[in-house]
């Protein structure tokens, strides 16, 4: 029996040797009865270990576990702290302004649809040499104001050429838009940073511009 080879028998069993080491162990086992016997004993130990069966403890351990199932648990989904709901509210003038703006937009759309056939020669709004269509509501835009003044003057000059009913609709819509703009501005005085109001003011101003352009174009088409 050679102790050097005996020490390698477990590695031999577990296939942990290099091919060269393995060949040397096998050569030795072929001539050493003691080492061959030891190898068989080790093999029996490994087999016995692998055959061990799980066993229950003498007593149930659950009574000592259940009371301890409290406290923090890792990986638990912790809900975010409930967000304080932010109530969005508008003042009465703001709501009136929004309602008027909506009414003007709807009315303007109806008017355009009703008179669109008579104004087929109207140039597209974007084709005119007018100020840019986007006008910041919160800033003063002299070009916008000039354009509005020019269009209103042209409309006043040519209103005699238009059908009285059309003139009434136009003036009613323009008045409504002006009222919406005034309401929005009043509301913005109290809440200048209100995005909703700023957006509606910009939209109302653009609506007025577009309506005046179409109206003056209609006047021009009639004359």
């Amino acid at each position: 029996m050679n102790e050097h080879y005996t020490d390698q028998l477990s590695d031999y069993l577990d296939d942990e040797l290099t091919p060269g080491e393995r060949a040397m162990v096998e050569s030795h086992l072929a001539v050493c009865r003691d080492c061959s016997s030891t190898l068989e004993e080790l093999r029996a130990v490994v087999a016995r270990a692998g055959a061990l069966l799980p066993r229950l403890p003498a007593n149930d351990l659950w009574p000592g576990i259940e009371p301890r199932l409290t406290g923090p648990r890792d990986g638990q989904v912790v809900p975010f702290k409930a967000r304080t709901s932010r109530r969005v509210s508008f003042t009465l003038p703001q709501l009136v302004a929004a309602g008027i703006a909506l009414m003007v937009m709807s009315g303007g759309g109806v008017w355009v649809l009703q008179h669109g056939g008579r104004a087929t020669s109207l140039p597209p709004v974007a084709a005119t040499n007018e100020p840019p269509s986007v006008v910041p509501a919160s800033s003063v835009n002299p070009r916008y104001d000039e354009a509005i003044a020019d269009l209103e003057q042209a409309l006043r000059a040519g209103r005699g050429d238009l059908d009285p009913a059309t003139v009434r609709i136009l003036e009613a819509n323009i008045d409504a838009i002006d009222k919406a703009i005034a309401e929005c501005r009043a509301a913005l005085d109290a809440d200048p940073a209100n995005v909703y109001l700023n957006s509606h003011l910009a939209e109302a101003r653009q609506r007025k511009l577009a309506l005046l352009r179409r109206a003056t174009a209609l006047v021009g088409g009639k004359s």
Binding site: D14, E41, L42, A49, L52, R55, L61
Partner: protein, 185 residues
């Protein structure tokens, strides 16, 4: 081919996992967790008892299941629940070992165990005889023998878990086998 086909840790635990119990237990259902405990108790308690030579085995087993309860939310299903639980159990036992400052020294003592291991008792249950012999092994050799030959872990895994070299793991395994072979004669 002389190499033995060792069971992998994954194969040494119950294969069919009641995933609904796992999910419910993870959500805080203690009854579902008790079902998991009942399923895995024999394997976990046997592992703990063999690794510790029976010392505080029941208390440690309870610690394992409490830890499982605490960690269940981190189980991602990358392995079977049984494999995950088994590895966690090994870690709990090893943590207990690490509290023993003399453990490193125990890896290198017990050379005279060949002489002190008692002769095999003549009983009808050779499994119990083997278990008794296992308990008499030096701590270091026994832990590695249980992890490798009983539980199916590889040397590199054992080395990682116990923070020793793979060579030490192989040497301790051989020591344990050599001691136990005398017992089986």
């Amino acid at each position: 081919m002389e190499a033995l086909a060792l069971r992998s840790p994954a194969e040494s635990v119950p294969a069919a996992e009641p995933m609904s119990d796992v999910a419910r237990a993870a959500a805080g259902d203690a009854r579902a967790f008790e079902a998991l405990y009942r399923t895995h108790l024999p394997r976990v308690n046997s592992l703990v008892r063999r690794m510790t030579a029976g010392r505080d085995a029941d208390e440690l087993t309870q610690d394992v299941f409490v830890r499982v309860w605490q960690k269940l939310g981190t189980f991602r299903g990358d392995s079977s629940f049984g494999t995950w639980l088994h590895r966690l159990a090994v870690n709990v036992v090893i943590e207990r070992f690490r509290t023993d400052q003399a453990r490193r020294a125990r890896m290198h003592d017990g050379e005279d165990i060949f002489e002190v291991l008692p002769a095999p008792a003549v009983t009808r249950d050779i499994g119990m005889d083997f278990e008794a012999a296992l308990e008499r092994l030096p701590d270091g050799a026994r832990e590695i023998f249980v992890l490798h030959d009983v539980e199916g872990y590889k040397h590199h895994e054992i080395a990682s878990m116990l923070e020793i070299s793979a060579g030490t793991s192989k040497a301790q395994l051989h020591r344990a086998r050599m001691m136990l072979r005398k017992h089986l004669k």
